[in-house]
Structure formats: C-alpha cells, structure tokens
C-alpha cells in the first residue's frame, strides 16, 4: 500500500474539496440532479387556513404532486412557504400562477398551477412561486356574512329615515291646517271691513255729487262764499 505523507494528504484535500464544490456547482447549474424524479418548489402563502400537508398540486385537474412541508418565515412579515413536491417531468415556468381552490363543498383545498401563455425560464428545484389567489369555504362564508350585515345595516338606516319622514309629514300637515285656519279668520275679518269701507265710499260719493251739483248751479258763489 502506498504511504502518503501528511503534507501530501493536506494538499490532496486542498485540491479535492474545491474541485468537488466546483463539480457540484457545475452539475446544479447545468440542471442535472442526483436526486429523485421529483423537484421541490416553494409556494409563498400568507395564511395557513387552507393549505396543509398533503394538499394536492394539480395542473389542468391532473395531480402532479403534493405539499410535503409547511415552514413559517418570520421576517420581514409573517408568511409561509409550502414545499410542493412535484414530478420532474412536468414542465413549469417561472411566471406560472398557483391558485388555491376548494375541490368540493366541504372545502378540501387543492393548488391548481397554470402555466403562462408566454413561457419564461423553466422552474428548477427550490424555486419560489407565489399563491396569487386564495379562496376557501370559510372565506366565502365570511364574505357572505359581511354582505348580509352590510345589507341589514342599510335596511335599518332606510327604516330610520322612513320613521323620521313620517313624523315630519305629520308636523307639516298640522302646521298647514293651522295656517289655513288663520287665513280663513283673516278673510272673515276682512269681509266686515269691506262692507264698512264700501258704505263709506258710497257716502263720500253722495257728498261729492252734492258738491258738484252746487258747483254747477252757482260756481261764483261756491268759490267766494264766506270771503267777505
């Protein structure tokens, strides 16, 4: 057996370790993998209410993998990374969309992946995609509840407005009747005064008639009477 000195072993390791690192890097960079027939893609999600371990990952309804791990990421804000183990043969592209859907009324979720029309770079192991839509039964129920409460509020507000309006109308009608009565009284009072006024006019006209007659008979006397 060949014996190596300490320095020879050190130099050997010094050459081998960077060489292995370089080889691994080149292999990974060229897209080769010594791993199994699956790749792990991370799905970035805001909430864990629907996605769980085992959630199927589908493309056009066909199951291509499952969620195998869920990890919280605390910074910069709390979010989660769901590790989706997907068949390597399936080609997914970096600008694909991942929609979290409910499969049935019970609310079993599934992650539906849609490849983009314009294909970008293919997703490789440990790439991250973002869950762009998040729909589950609980969320739908919450939305319906919110809608109903808003509707109830609107109806109550309309009712309040109607009650207020009715009161206002009642006050208005009573005010109107008072006003009519007052107008009637004014008219009644005015009628008496008109008769008196007309009789006064008649008397005045009679006096004026007498004066005119007198003036016609003796104009000079009328003018100078009482001057002497």
């Amino acid at each position: 057996m060949v014996k190596f000195e300490k320095n020879e072993i050190r130099v050997g390791l010094f050459i081998l370790i960077p060489g292995i690192i370089l080889l691994i890097f080149t292999t990974l960079k060229l897209g080769y993998s010594i791993a199994s027939s699956t790749i792990d893609i991370y799905l970035k999600i805001d909430s864990l209410t629907s996605v769980k371990k085992g959630t199927p990952v589908k493309i056009k309804g066909y199951t291509i993998g499952r969620v195998v791990e869920l990890k919280p990421v605390y910074k910069p804000t709390l979010h989660f990374l769901a590790t989706m183990r997907i068949e390597r043969e399936i080609e997914l592209y970096e600008n694909c969309s991942a929609v979290i859907l409910n499969q049935n009324v019970i609310g079993d979720p599934a992650i539906e992946i849609k490849n983009p029309e314009k294909k970008g770079e293919a997703l490789i192991n440990h790439d991250i995609i973002e869950g762009i839509e998040y729909v589950n039964l609980e969320a739908v129920l919450q939305d319906v509840h919110l809608l109903l409460s808003t509707l109830t509020g609107t109806v109550n507000m309309f009712k309040d407005i109607t009650i207020d309006s009715r009161n206002n109308l009642r006050v208005l009608v009573s005010d109107l009747s008072v006003s009519v009565r007052k107008l009637k009284e004014i008219l009644d009072d005015s009628q008496k005064d008109i008769v008196t006024l007309l009789s006064s006019f008649r008397q005045t006209s009679e006096v004026m008639t007498e004066i005119s007659k007198e003036f016609k008979k003796n104009p000079m006397k009328f003018l100078f009477e009482g001057k002497k």
Partner: protein, 264 residues
C-alpha cells in the same frame, strides 16, 4: 535649451529602461517556454516535492487568512446591503450583489493580493538568496535547467493554490454573508443559496477560473524574474519590493482586462 535637453534625456532614459525591462521579461518568458523542450529529461518525482511544498506554503498555509478575510468581506457586504437595499426596495438582490462583488471581482483580486504579499515576496526573496549563494549557478553547472526545476513547479503550485483559494474564498464569503444576514432577515438557507446559484452564471465561473490560471502563471513568473535579478546581496530587498509592486500592478491590469472581456 539645456534644461529641455536634460528633460528629454531623462524621459528617454526612463522609456528605454521600461522597454528594456519589457524585452528582458519577454526573453525570460521565452526561456521558460524553451525549457519545456527539455521536459522529457525531467523526472516528475524530482519536482514533485517542490510542488507539494509550494502548494502547502502558497495554498494551505494561506487558508486561515483567506477564510478570515472572506468571511469579513462577505459579512460587510451583507450588512451594507441589508441596511441600504430596503431604502430602494431591492432587498431581494442581496444574492446578486454577493455574486457580482465577491465572486466576480473581490474574490479573485483579494486572493491574488494575499498570495502576492505572502508567497510572491517569499518566492522572490528565496530565489534571490539562492542566486546570491550560487545555488542557481550550481544547478546550471550540473546541467539542470533552473527554469524547469525552480520556476515550473512554482507555476503549477500557484495555479493549483489560486484555483482552490478562489473557490474557497467565494464559498466562505457566501456562508459568512448568510450567517450575518440571519441576524436581521430570516432567509431559509436553501432559498439563499438558490438565489446565489441563480445569480451565478457559468460565465462567472469561467472568468474566475481564467483569473486563477492567469494569476497563477503571472505571480510566480514575475516574482522569479525579479528573484533572479540581484547581482549583489544588497539588491535583494530592492528586487523583492519590485517583484511585489510589479506583480500587484499586473494583477490589477489582468483583472480589469478579464472583467472587460467577460462583462462589458
């Protein structure tokens, strides 16, 4: 007129001196290449020990400095980027910055500088001392080509050492950067290294390898050239100093040229 003549003669003297230096260096390189003709007479086992010792001295003994410096450089870059990048909304590009700064430029350059200051000066001083002690002359008298026995193993050792050191520098700088980044931002290790892997292209790898090979050839050649120059023992420090400064100058030029060739 007299002053002008003096100035012109001074400039001319300098230019001729530089030109002579370039011609001498070219002759030295040609003599190394010519010495490869007598490679068939060289037994590998005769230079094996020199290669091992030189690789140990240039590579393995330099490793603690490289690890320390690369970790600090990686950490510094990450600290700066973590504090400054969020202001511009580009905090997702930390991996790219590490690749651009460390792997492309700083890694090869810092490794080259450390090797020059540590091993380059040692090579120049060692060969200068051997020249003064007539050891080189003795080799020539014995019919051994000093270019093959002295320069060639040092070139091989420097290429191996610089190649390994540059890769280790990058790897340690990335790890240092990752450890520092964990203090402020929580990034999963696989995500961080995936970002690095995405940012690091094969072009970067080829550029780094080319730099390691070119530095590995140039550093020992320039240092050996100046090591063989002294004619008296008093000239040894002068030529050692010259070897270091000229090698540094050459390394910066080569680094700039490779970067221009690959990235412009």
């Amino acid at each position: 007129m007299n002053l002008n003549l003096k100035l012109a003669s001074l400039v001319g003297k300098k230019v001729i001196s530089y030109w002579e230096g370039i011609v001498n260096f070219r002759d030295f390189c040609v003599s190394i290449i010519r010495s490869f003709h007598s490679m068939k007479y060289l037994r590998f086992r005769s230079i094996y020990r020199v290669i091992i010792n030189q690789t140990k001295f240039t590579g393995i003994d330099t490793l603690p400095f490289i690890i320390l410096i690369s970790m600090m450089i990686g950490g510094t870059i990450i600290i700066q980027s973590i504090t400054q990048f969020p202001k511009f909304g580009i905090e997702g590009f930390i991996g790219n910055l590490l690749v651009i700064v460390v792997a492309r430029e700083l890694g090869p350059l810092a490794t080259g500088l450390i090797v020059i200051t540590r091993s380059g000066s040692a090579i120049a001083a060692e060969i200068a001392t051997q020249t003064q002690n007539k050891e080189i002359l003795s080799l020539e008298i014995m019919g051994i080509d000093p270019m093959l026995y002295i320069v060639f193993p040092r070139i091989i050792a420097a290429v191996i050492s610089l190649f390994s050191l540059m890769i280790l520098f990058d790897v340690v700088a990335f790890f240092g950067g990752y450890i520092i980044s964990q203090m402020t931002v929580s990034i999963p290790i696989d995500v961080f290294f995936q970002t690095l892997l995405d940012a690091f292209s094969l072009n970067d790898l080829i550029a780094t390898l080319l730099k390691s090979v070119s530095y590995g050839i140039l550093i020992p050649i320039i240092c050996c050239y100046y090591g063989l120059k002294p004619t008296s023992k008093f000239e040894v420090p002068i030529y050692v100093s010259k070897a270091v400064t000229r090698t540094l100058f050459t390394i910066f030029i080569i680094n700039a040229l490779i970067s221009v060739f690959f990235y412009l």
